[in-house]
């Protein structure tokens, strides 16, 4: 009786000890996984920042002027307000508005559009009034 109880206690202690060791090993394994995932996340964040910087540089009015307008010998000209028809963009419900365009007019989009028109469709620059 005494021997069997002793064996039982020993078995329980052994199982608990093994579970503790297993748990610690898993924690370490997860630690490695988390570290790897964090590195990937950080790398992707860095990549995003780098791409955002490139995008902002390309969208810079100076860059648009230099690369798009000057190359085609076009002179950038700010359109007069009466020549502009502003149309509310179709927007799905819940769609977010980009930062900086909440006021309605997006100057950089305007510049891009203007550049595109100057290069690809110069004859479609202006609408005429129909009597």
């Amino acid at each position: 009786m005494r021997t069997s109880r002793c064996i039982l206690y020993t078995a329980v202690v052994t199982v608990l000890s093994l579970f503790y060791v297993f748990q610690q090993t898993e924690i370490v394994k997860l630690g490695y996984k988390i570290t790897r995932a964090e590195n990937v996340l950080e790398s992707m964040r860095d990549r995003r920042t780098s791409l955002e910087f490139t995008l902002t540089s390309l969208e810079s009015p100076l860059n648009l002027d230099k690369n798009l307008l000057m190359n085609t010998n076009n002179q950038y000209e700010m359109a007069q307000s009466f020549k502009l028809v502003k149309v509310t963009p179709p927007r799905a419900e819940g769609m977010r508005v980009a930062v900086g365009t909440k006021g309605g007019f997006a100057p950089l989009s305007f510049l891009r559009r203007l550049a595109r028109q100057s290069i690809f469709a110069p004859s479609q620059a202006e609408a005429k009034t129909v009597k």
Binding site: I27, V28, G31, Y32, I34, T35, E38, D46, R47, T49, S50, E52, F53, T56, S57, S60, P61, L62, D65, Y76, M78, A79, Q80, S81, L84, V85, K86, V87, T88, V99, G100, G103, G104, F105, P107, L108, F110, L111
Partner: protein
């Protein structure tokens, strides 16, 4: 005794084991009681390391939250020379991939060191190219680099940060304490293979720097820079400055200096190009200062627009100094004196109202003291108190001589005339925000004083509109809008103290539209050639800037159809 050991051999073995047991027991007790602190410290040192966590430097945005200064991750390549098996091949491959000099790489790899820098702050694509080569003994360290997407746009205003991300110039330096943030720290657990293990808790996270939101508008800045570049090149000028202000708030919408420099590569430009001339350089303004004399005369009630002033047919003596007009005039009305920019007529006006009034209104318009715009290096200019005026000063100060001003002071003064006489403090930073966009500190419009009465302001606006319509500023005329302003052509002072006949400062200050002003603009060109009149050199640039900025602002506020 419980045991009776008969065999002496067994007894010996028993004694040996017993002795070992006692030895280990004593060792255990000794370690636990006397050496535990030391050993724990040693283990911690081997298994964990201290890591300083770099905070993210705050960004700088324009008024529409378009980034003007951001942080970009870069990668610095270093080598561990003992690990590099074929140094010759490594040098050749790096030359082919990054364009590095083979000799330079070899020299670095032959150093008896465990760590040598090969290339600092490489871009993402370069890093990927080198990684793909999979050369033994080369590794990367990530470093943050301050980057400026608009390169030289508003370069002197923004300034730049150095390799260690510390602000060295412009707003980067002035607001460095807000932008830089606070570093954090952590202990990282590592295993026998020196692999990091994310188990240890971060003990002190870094606090990212705050961001600046400027009053500058990227598009207005672009328009101003484009026009300044044209005149800067066309007239082969030594320097050029433009300030665009919102007359009602004092917000600086654009601030341009030429020559400029690329913020991403400041070391390639002379230090002269880094100077924010708009606030650091003062000069004799010449005829643009006549707006002060005219405003004083009207505000004091000593003159009306139609009062006649005899302009002495182009020559007039004040003490031992003879004044001249560019074109000789007989009698001119007060309005014509300003629109034709008669030095003699203006001096006669000043003589009637007295030096004290000229000085008082010059102070009211903010001359002689800094504008407190918050831009680093701002100077207050020179405005001598009446007590130290010489006998000839009354023929000099009212026409913009013996007085020194900055371009920003001129813009703020003409903005006061446009804003019903209210002098607004010009400012360039409108808010400091945290990374979530919460405002930490806000700067708003600040009325400093009533420089002149609203009635005088209204009358001055009409007189300055006449300058553009029939006077010296005709080249600022627009088919689309009515503009108002004042031309100025100031002789520069030579090293020997005499006025130069070959070096001039051509200026035009004004506002638009004339009847309901929105923006004030100062265009200053230093030493233009061959033409040097403000009405010829600066006025057309004013017109172009004002027209496009007004169109842009109208588009911004146009209703959606």
């Amino acid at each position: 005794m419980f045991l009776k050991i008969k065999s002496p051999r067994i007894a010996l073995v028993f004694v040996i084991f017993l002795g070992l047991l006692v030895f280990f027991f004593i060792q255990l007790v000794s370690i636990h009681l006397f050496r535990s602190a030391f050993l724990l410290k040693l283990a911690a040192k081997q298994q964990t390391y201290y890591l300083e966590l770099e905070p993210k430097r705050g960004d700088i945005f324009d008024r529409n939250m378009r980034p003007m200064a951001v942080n970009v991750a870069t990668f610095s390549l270093y080598g561990v020379p003992p690990q590099v098996k074929d140094k010759q091949r490594a040098a050749r491959v790096l030359h082919e991939t990054l364009g590095l000099d083979e000799g330079f790489v070899m020299e670095r790899l032959n150093r008896p060191k465990q760590f040598v820098w090969i290339a600092r702050k490489l871009g993402w694509s370069d890093m990927e190219k080198v990684r793909a080569l999979d050369i033994d003994g080369f590794h990367f360290i990530k470093e943050s680099k301050r980057s400026y997407p608009h390169a030289r746009m508003a370069s002197q205003v923004i300034g730049f940060a150095g390799l260690d991300n510390q602000g060295l110039d412009g707003l980067e330096m002035k607001f460095d304490s807000y932008l830089k943030g606070t570093p954090g720290w952590t202990f990282v657990l590592r295993d026998a293979h020196q692999r990091d293990l994310t188990i240890a808790d971060t003990l002190q996270p870094p606090v990212d720097g705050y961001s600046l939101v400027l009053t500058i508008d990227e598009i207005v800045q672009y328009i101003a820079e484009r026009e300044v570049d044209k005149i800067f090149q066309k007239y082969r000028a030594k320097g050029a400055m433009v300030v665009v202000l919102d007359v009602k708030t004092g917000e600086i919408l654009a601030l341009v200096n030429r020559p400029a420099y690329d913020l991403n590569d400041p070391s390639s430009y002379p230090t002269e190009a880094r100077r924010d001339r708009v606030v650091t350089d003062y000069f004799e303004p010449g005829s643009v200062f006549k707006i002060v004399t005219a405003s004083a005369a009207l505000d004091e009630g000593k003159f009306t627009e139609e009062d006649k002033i005899f302009c002495e047919n182009g020559e007039y003596r004040v003490a031992n100094h003879t004044l001249h007009d560019v074109h000789p005039y007989g009698s001119l009305t007060f309005r014509e004196v300003i629109s034709q920019s008669s030095n003699i007529g203006t001096t006669k006006i000043a003589q009637k109202i007295g030096p004290a009034a000229v000085y008082k209104y010059a102070k009211n318009f903010g001359f002689g003291t800094g504008t407190q715009s918050g831009l680093p290096g701002e100077v207050g200019g020179v405005l001598k108190p009446v007590s130290v005026w010489s006998k000839t000063s009354i023929g000099a100060v009212p026409i913009g001589q013996e007085v020194c001003v900055t371009a920003l002071q001129l813009a703020a003064a003409v903005a006061a005339i446009a804003n019903d006489g209210r002098y607004m403090k010009p400012y360039v930073v409108q808010a400091i925000v945290d990374k979530h966009g919460e405002i930490i500190k806000e700067y708003g419009p600040e009325e400093v004083r009533q420089a002149i009465s609203p009635e005088t302001s209204k009358r001055m606006r009409q007189i300055l509109a006449t300058v553009v319509e029939t006077g010296t500023g005709k080249m600022a005329q627009s088919k689309l809008y009515r503009f108002a302003g004042k031309t100025g052509t100031a002789q520069k002072v030579e090293a020997n103290g005499t006025y130069s006949h070959s070096k001039f400062v051509a200026s035009f200050i004004g506002f638009a539209p004339a009847d309901d002003p929105e923006i004030a603009i100062a265009v200053i060109v230093d030493e233009p050639r061959p033409y040097y009149y403000g009405g010829v050199v600066s006025a057309p640039a004013f017109k172009m800037i004002a027209e496009d900025v007004l169109k842009y602002r109208q588009m911004n506020g146009a209703p959606v159809d």
